[in-house]
């Protein structure tokens, strides 16, 4: 699931549960998740992702 799709679903669910105050937190979480998914240690089944280098990026 892409972060965009995840966020769309999560916001819809928060609205359904009448938790509008959760919206800004979920949007912040989505930004954080994008950063996590961009990290160079992640494994990609296509093997196109470089392994961790141990060097600053």
């Amino acid at each position: 699931m892409t972060v965009d799709t995840w966020l769309e679903n999560a916001l819809r669910d928060a609205d359904r549960r009448q938790l509008p105050a959760l919206r800004p937190l979920l949007e912040a979480l989505a930004r954080s998740t994008r950063l996590l998914r961009a990290a160079d240690w992640n494994v990609d089944a296509s093997d196109r992702t470089a392994p961790p280098t141990g060097h600053a990026r």
Binding site: A14, L36, A39, W41
Partner: protein, 449 residues
């Protein structure tokens, strides 16, 4: 003849010499609690009768030549997240109303065996999920040096109780910095041992892979004694003092120094200068993936916390404070695949901290980027930047929960306004005792230079 003992070690020696009784020491703490707790709100439960009975029992044993060790007869406080048999563990939440602990947490059982006197249970940020204690069903803890400020959290009541003389030491917990943050904000010594070093059973969990329990004290010597007793060593030895001359410190500047209050930065650099003057070797080191620390922490801590709270979030959502409920709800939306990515990142960072420590005695960095914050202000200005207090306060400590390395905060001066600043020392995993020995050398150098 002993002067009135201030530290745990002083009291312990005075008790051994029969210069004071445990009952007298306990009564002093209880009097201080009666005088100060209405303003500071450090305690949720005060165990006056139980503590007095324990103290009298300790006095009888000591008088009979059956002193168990340095903790025998010493009044200490316990964060109200930790089970003490027969008393409520509120976690500062209405969710826990009616709870009574059936047995002691393992570390409390060890302290009971060591003869410690439990003076009371201290206030905290609800379920330890926050760094100011403002979200507590029992109201905020106030800083003993300035009651408009927070003493830091989540073990805020523990730190306030020690700073204000209501207990000789305290047992706190640390999932992202909850021992080291209030210790730094209050000018105390706070130790987060190596992950798994001290058992966390009998402690309300926040995040199973990040939770630690440890001591908050006035000095490194006190911390060493309490940590030893928490490990189950009845008569822990205080290690021989060493000099900082020749000790090697790695200073990780990128990221950790990017967002610091100017006075905190100045006090820390002063401390570095004094250590260098005393013969310590300070070298800059790099931890490559610091940019991902916060996202790894978030994606591990929140789903683990949510897993513990899922049932009560459904059955009694209104019993949580609003902010804590919302943060726990965030955790319920994190996908398993992202949790796994974060766990992999945890391994990468653990190796990087290990690499930074190679050939060095420890890492040295500030504990807390800002002095104690004002209650009711969720944002803080650092230079030109306006930042959320929560993110800033966790910034320098949470890495070592992720990696499990032992870390200790020691005092390193005060701002011009008199607020304490802390320096953090980080040692090799499973070498907590070595870290304490280095911390004692640093403490002595910073006190006397």
């Amino acid at each position: 003849m002993h002067a009135e003992p201030k530290t745990l070690a002083d009291l312990s020696r005075a008790l051994e010499d029969r210069a004071i009784t445990s009952e007298e020491a306990t009564e002093r703490c209880l009097s201080r609690i009666a005088e100060r707790n209405p303003a500071i709100n450090a305690f949720i439960t005060v165990l006056a009768d139980e503590a007095t009975a324990q103290a009298r029992g300790a006095d009888r044993e000591i008088a009979g030549g059956r002193r168990r060790g340095p903790l025998h007869g010493v009044p200490i406080s316990v964060k109200d997240l930790i089970d003490l048999r027969g008393t409520p563990t509120t976690a500062a939440s209405r969710v826990r109303q009616g709870h009574i602990a059936r047995q002691d947490a393992t570390v409390i059982g060890r302290l009971r065996t060591a003869g410690a006197v439990f003076i009371g249970k201290t206030n905290l940020h609800e379920f330890a999920l926050g760094t100011t204690n403002e979200d507590s069903a029992y109201g905020p803890v106030r800083h003993p040096l300035d009651d408009s400020r927070s003493p830091g959290g989540s073990s805020g009541g523990s730190a306030a109780s020690v700073l204000d003389g209501m207990a000789f030491a305290s047992v706190g917990t640390d999932t992202g910095g909850s021992i080291r943050i209030p210790s730094a904000a209050c000018g105390l010594v706070g130790l987060k041992p190596t992950i798994g070093d001290l058992p966390t059973d009998g402690i309300v969990p926040l995040s199973a892979t990040l939770d630690h329990v440890g001591p908050i004290c006035l000095t490194v010597e006190d911390t060493t004694l309490l940590y030893g007793a928490m490990r189950g060593v009845l008569k822990p030895e205080y290690p021989p003092l060493r000099d900082v001359r020749g000790l090697r410190f790695g200073v990780p500047r990128p990221y950790f120094f990017d967002l610091l209050d100017t006075e905190v930065a100045a006090r820390f650099e002063d401390a570095c200068g004094r250590l260098r003057s005393a013969g310590a070797i300070l070298e800059d080191v790099l931890i490559p993936h610091t940019a991902e620390i916060a996202t790894i922490y978030l994606h591990v801590a929140l789903p683990e916390a949510a897993s513990c709270h899922a049932a009560t979030l459904e059955s009694q959502p209104d019993d949580y404070t609003t902010n804590v409920r919302l943060r726990l709800e965030m955790g319920r939306y994190i996908l398993a695949e992202d949790y796994v990515r974060a766990r992999r990142g945890q391994e990468v960072l653990t190796q990087e901290v290990k690499d930074a420590l190679a050939g060095r005695d420890c890492l040295l960095l500030p504990s807390l980027p800002i002095p104690a914050t004002r209650l009711g202000e969720p944002m803080v200005r650092i230079g030109e930047s306006e930042e959320p207090v929560r993110n800033v306060t966790l910034r320098l400590t949470q890495l070592f929960n992720i990696t499990g390395h032992p870390a200790i905060s020691v005092p390193c001066g005060r701002t011009t306004g008199g607020l304490p600043v802390g320096a953090q020392l980080v040692g090799a995993r499973y070498r907590t005792a070595d870290l304490l020995q280095v911390a004692a050398a640093v403490e002595r150098t910073l006190e006397h230079s």
